[in-house]
């Protein structure tokens, strides 16, 4: 299976460990990634906070390149990117005026027909049964709090993915890998997202609540499918500990880390040894 691939800035920047594990485990599963040629930033929170048109045009440029190069399906492992790409695609697909305007702005014809997928959806397309068969090292010691955060499930009318209040798609995958998924309350609560730099106080408080709730429900790790969630829960965990006088010591895995481990790929090849909270495995 070959699909388009939009890494986004985070996966080519400080979240390059996420890209390592996405590539390693999809390669093992026979999914070939074709990286989008000369892709540009999706604009993220800055664009939609400052200019609505720009928030559609930046993703539209990437959708136009995907269409030009014949990529009808495209993985965007960062939920910020995938949400912005999906929203732009719908705005363009649903309105001929927007389509015309955006094609002019981005200097390429764009119709919004590219199907943009998050990481969970790619695993679903591979198939949970196939994933189960490919497991060589069942994750029996994993008790995961599957954390979706905001943009994997919201806005639901645009994303049409899983249940926006009680999603279960990650749990299904973790259990297929032989792990246990705990029942907990903060699956879709915000971690503070892109406020890490400019409003750290908020990030520490929201992320502390998430880590505390995960531990209170018996989880020994948190599983994410978002680079920002990982930064806030993993990189910022030492700051959270200091601020609140606690020791969370909670491993934060990308979903692709767990899939890779279960498929027998070693931690180094998945980039797990580059997380901030050290593995206790």
């Amino acid at each position: 299976m070959q699909i388009g691939y939009y890494p986004g800035c985070a996966l080519h920047g400080s979240s390059n460990d996420y890209e390592m594990s996405v590539r390693a485990c999809l390669d093992r599963l026979g999914v070939e990634l074709r990286e989008l040629d000369d892709w540009t930033c999706c604009g993220a929170t800055a664009a939609h906070s400052i200019n609505e048109k720009l928030a559609t045009a930046l993703p539209a440029r990437n959708l136009a390149i995907a269409e030009r190069d014949g990529l009808d399906r495209m993985l965007a492992p960062c939920p910020m990117c995938s949400m912005e790409l999906i929203k732009a695609g719908q705005a363009i697909g649903n309105d001929a005026c927007v389509r015309k305007e955006m094609s002019e702005i981005v200097e390429l014809e764009v119709t919004g027909r590219t199907q943009v997928l998050n990481l969970i959806q790619v695993f679903q397309q591979v198939g949970v049964e196939r994933l189960k068969e490919a497991v060589v090292r069942p994750l029996t010691e994993i008790k995961a709090a599957c954390y979706y955060g905001c943009l994997l499930v919201r806005p639901p009318e645009a994303l049409r993915f899983d249940d926006c209040e009680q999603p279960t798609s990650m749990e299904t995958i973790v259990e297929a890998l032989g792990g246990t998924a705990v029942d907990w309350n903060y699956k879709t609560e915000c971690c503070g997202a892109g406020m890490t730099m400019c409003n750290e106080d908020t990030v520490l408080e929201l992320s502390h609540r998430i880590l505390s709730n995960a531990a209170a429900h018996g989880a020994n790790c948190v599983v994410v499918a978002c680079p920002m969630c990982h930064v806030n829960l993993d990189m910022k965990q030492a700051d959270i500990d200091r601020r609140y006088g606690v020791r969370h010591e909670t491993m934060v895995y990308y979903l692709s880390d767990l899939v890779g481990l279960a498929l027998g790929i070693d931690e180094g090849a998945l980039g797990i040894d580059r997380h901030y909270v050290a593995t206790k495995r």
Binding site: T40, A46, S49, P155, P156
Partner: protein
């Protein structure tokens, strides 16, 4: 764009008149307790035509864009979109809530970085943001607060001195110019 109710509704693709002030948006908001006024009160100000007042609230810059409010609204009022619309209008009309300038500075530095490189150059963003924030509030601790992160990131190969750039940076700049026609370049960069 002039800060009118119609402008907010057009940018947010929503009808604020549909809101019946149940407060579900504020109940689910993860940062409501930090805001100067609650999300439903922001919507109320817009309903009453007090857009100018709403634009000056810190709440719109404390919002983390998690979209919980809009998702749970029983009347499908796009409260998240209203927050975005108010942010855009406040920048276009050069209004900044004083205590939360760092967020504005950050978002502008972020966009400026994308405009030049096409992709985010993290180190450059941090440098520009810290410098601009320092010039605004002269906080030395804030300037150096994250400096201890650098060696930790380097050890993990997460520190890139030179960021990636797209080949066709011309088109990125033209996309910005076409979208920000109403916003002078100086204002967008400042």
């Amino acid at each position: 764009m002039k800060p009118t109710v119609e402008a907010v509704e057009e940018l947010a693709h929503t009808d604020v008149g549909d809101c019946y002030q149940c407060g579900k948006c504020s109940a689910g908001c993860p940062v409501a307790d930090r805001m100067d006024i609650l999300p439903n009160q922001i919507v109320r100000l817009v309903q009453m035509g007090l857009v100018d007042k709403a634009m000056r609230k810190e709440a719109i810059w404390l919002c983390v864009s998690c979209q919980t409010c809009a998702t749970r609204c029983p009347k499908s009022v796009n409260c998240t979109g209203v927050m975005d619309a108010l942010r855009q209008l406040s920048i276009e009309n050069a209004i900044e809530a004083p205590a939360i300038r760092r967020t504005v500075v950050f978002q502008k530095a972020f966009l400026n970085n994308i405009r030049r490189n096409g992709r985010l150059n993290e180190l450059e963003l941090v440098g520009v943001f810290k410098t601009m924030a320092f010039l605004k509030d002269i906080s030395v601790p804030f300037l150096f607060k994250d400096s201890l992160l650098a060696p930790k990131m380097m050890r993990r190969h997460k520190f890139h001195l030179v960021g990636e750039k797209v080949r066709d940076r011309g088109v990125v700049d033209r996309i910005f110019a076409r979208c920000l026609a109403e916003l002078s370049e100086v204002e967008a960069v400042r």
